[in-house]
């Protein structure tokens, strides 16, 4: 059976274009990513943001000889690890990351044969006669990324250029390397749970604007803390990246994405059970990663397996990711739990009753609901978290509903709606194929369903990210994926928390019986992985 690529990171850069299934919308977005204007691309997890960034990168690199536009791909996925006293810690770290990635990308493209003018600014090396990659600036980035180990220590940022110096250096580089423009493609640009980082990111994003450099950023839908200077729609083209389930080509496009990475058995079974595949495709609601995951559980696409996977995945698994978020971000627990309850007890049952009646009367169906724009802030925050995990997606803002009231229309994940059917294979397709956004359940400014949330959380305030980190480090070593006897060994050494293991040296760990150099490193790596896993939301 074929093994699917669930994440873009797993696909080798050279093969990216081979897996690309181009829709009209994808092409528009890739073209915007390759063009001059700054772009902010927002989409929930697994819809293919990273993939489009990599496609743009590959295409720009391929055409570099002719167009002289140089792409630099950089990811800020480690932003959650940063925890220093520095007020501008994120800005410093992000600038360091961009410098470091830029130098590496140029070097990989073979453009640094002789050190060009402006390079020394980006490396932090005063003597730039020779080009090495292990630069003082890279060290700054690495120091920031390690700052969660000793929280609140400061990192020496003397070598880091100011934003102005950075822009000048880029201009010099463009001149000496005959490059027309740099395009910086920033993945996971702003951390969803760290408004402080979001603000610093957008400020930097705006400050970097110059004729020689264009920034393109991929963010999650809930990222909305733009800071003081950045103004969405003025300072960047904002793109909401959703695959439109109402489009007539939707299933065909999703099918092509799957066929590009399937073996012949799966392609055959999809052809024979096209309807069941269509149900899974609609259930995934535009998210290729979810489609591949559900398909890998029911590769034969038989009726029974399809029904089972719809029920299991969309009744429990899809929520498991959402419901484990409070482990990482304790401050959001009330919002997260309420969000689930709201969707499961208010939205879904209501839509189901309506669809049953609509379809019986041969009318169009719905998967949409509407929230009044004056709904309480905690409700809006809860919906943001739901759109981060892809349970709902924001369909349109500023929609007029009954009595001319204005609000936001959301679409709920179709799979969750299908999971309420007794046999999705017989009743799901009519729902999906007859959708119209004109029908929606409406929730006013003071709907009774909000009450339980408001009593628990009268006002919304930003939780401190540092607290979340401390909480992770204080977790017991039981969360680490290591053998029982190793865990007992750690206990004997008095290392009981994840933080203890991380702060201990490899030599210290070697005191455990049968633990030598290799195993001690492996244990620290396991601890490190556990922390990354928890922190990189």
């Amino acid at each position: 059976m074929s093994e699917f690529f669930y994440r873009t990171e797993d696909i080798p850069t050279d093969d990216i274009l081979q897996y690309f299934v181009e829709t009209k919308r994808d092409r528009e977005i890739v073209n915007l990513l390759k063009a001059r204007n700054p772009v902010v691309l927002a989409g929930s997890r697994g819809v293919g943001k990273s993939f489009l960034l990599r496609v743009a990168e590959s295409e720009l690199l391929a055409a570099f000889g002719k167009d002289r536009t140089f792409p630099v791909y950089v990811t800020f996925s480690k932003s959650s690890l940063i925890n220093t006293k520095d007020q501008l810690q994120f800005q410093h770290w992000m600038l360091a990351r961009i410098c470091a990635r830029l130098v590496r990308a140029l070097s990989k493209a073979g453009l640094l044969g002789a050190a060009p003018a402006g390079l020394s600014i980006l490396t932090g090396q005063s003597n730039a006669e020779t080009v090495t990659l292990d630069t003082p600036i890279e060290k700054i980035a690495a120091d920031f990324e390690a700052s969660w180990k000793q929280p609140l220590e400061s990192v020496n940022v003397d070598a880091l250029p100011s934003v102005e110096a950075f822009r000048d250096a880029i201009e010099d580089l463009c001149g000496s390397l005959n490059i027309e423009r740099f395009i910086v493609l920033i993945d996971e640009a702003a951390h969803i749970f760290r408004p402080e980082q979001q603000r610093q990111f957008f400020t930097l994003f705006r400050d970097l604007r110059s004729p020689c450099i264009s920034c393109k950023a991929a963010v999650y839908p809930g990222v909305t803390s733009y800071g003081d200077t950045f103004q969405p729609f003025h300072d960047a083209t904002m793109i909401a990246f959703e695959r439109d389930i109402l489009s007539p080509d939707y299933v065909a496009n999703m099918r092509e994405i799957v066929e590009k990475q399937s073996d012949s058995d799966i392609i055959r079974d999809i052809a024979r059970h096209g309807q069941n595949f269509a149900i899974l495709a609609y259930g995934a609601t535009g998210n290729p990663r979810v489609l591949l995951k559900t398909l890998s559980r029911a590769p034969k696409l038989s009726g029974q397996a399809t029904n089972e996977v719809i029920r299991e995945y969309y009744r429990s698994d899809v929520w498991s990711e959402h419901s484990t978020l409070p482990d990482k971000y304790a401050g959001h627990r009330i919002l997260i739990d309420w969000g689930r309850k709201f969707i499961e007890t208010n939205v879904l049952p209501d839509l189901k009753i309506k669809n049953d009646a609509y379809l019986q009367a041969e009318k169009a169906s719905t998967c949409f609901f509407w929230i009044h724009r004056d709904a309480p802030q905690p409700v809006k925050e809860a919906l943001k978290l739901l759109s981060y995990t892809g349970i709902v997606n924001e369909h349109a803002i500023g929609i007029k509903a009954t009595r001319g009231e204005v609000g936001t229309r959301y679409g709920v994940n179709l799979g969750c709606l299908f999971a309420l059917e007794s046999a999705p294979t017989t009743s799901a397709l009519p729902i999906a194929q007859n959708l119209t956004p004109k029908r929606m359940s409406e929730f006013g400014a003071n709907h009774s369903a909000y009450q339980s949330l408001l009593t628990e959380m009268p006002a919304f305030k930003e939780p401190s990210a540092g607290d979340a980190l401390q909480q992770q480090l204080a977790k017991s070593i039981d969360v680490l994926d290591i053998a029982y006897w190793l865990r007992e060994g750690l206990r004997k050494l008095g290392l009981t928390t994840v933080g203890d293991v991380l702060n201990s040296s490899e030599v210290e760990l070697m005191q455990i019986h049968y633990v030598g150099e290799k195993r001690s490193r492996r244990m620290r790596n396991a601890a490190m992985e556990a922390v990354y896993e928890y922190l990189s939301g």
């Binding site: 065909a252 099918r255 092509e256 066929e259 590009k260 399937s262 073996d263 012949s264 058995d265 392609i267 055959r268 999809i270 052809a271 024979r272 059970h273 096209g274 208010n346 209501d350 009753i353 309506k354 379809l359 041969e362 009318k363 169009a364 169906s365 609901f369 509407w370 509903a401 009954t402 397709l429 009519p430 194929q433 007859n434 119209t436 004109k438 029908r439 929606m440 359940s441 409406e442 929730f443 006013g444 400014a445 003071n446 709907h447 009774s448």
Partner: protein
């Protein structure tokens, strides 16, 4: 005859242009069978040309092995499906009633999931639920239906 010419996206026997010429109703389906054909050919050629993984799986011995037996049959099933489709696409429109009757069992067995194939062979076609009149929703109707239940 060269495989790459046969399977070519633009001019092969499973290309849209080719299928449209002989049986237009199957045009929408042909990219899937083309993908299937390409993939199964690649997989079979891995056995022929001594790909490392297939060599290891075969084990260098000539004797019965269940997994290899199953793999062979899975590929054969796929190839049968692709050839049936190609046959249908090229000739079914030109064949007379007698030929239809001869081919009916095997084609319905393999391609019975495609409505166009069922209809040309005279088999009952399940009525697909036609998308309901989406435009039939009037603003008045919407205001009544949606608001009653959930609005405050």
């Amino acid at each position: 005859m060269v495989w790459s010419a046969l399977i070519d996206d633009e001019s092969g026997v499973l290309s849209k242009q080719f299928v449209r010429t002989f049986y237009e109703d199957l045009t929408g389906e042909c990219p899937h069978y083309r993908a299937m054909g390409k993939e199964v050919y690649r997989e079979c050629s891995e056995y022929v040309h001594g790909n490392f993984l297939t060599h290891v799986a075969l084990g260098g011995k000539v004797e019965f092995q269940q997994p290899i037996f199953d793999a062979w049959h899975a590929k054969a099933k796929t190839i049968r499906l692709v050839s049936s489709f190609a046959l249908c696409a090229r000739y079914i429109n030109l064949a007379d009633a007698k030929t239809h009757a001869e081919l009916e069992t095997v084609l319905l067995d393999n391609l019975g999931h495609i409505p166009a194939v069922r209809s040309i062979l005279g088999a009952p076609v399940e009525k697909t639920l036609a998308p309901a009149a989406k435009s039939a929703v009037t603003p008045v109707e919407k205001a009544g239906t949606a608001a009653e239940k959930t609005n405050v």
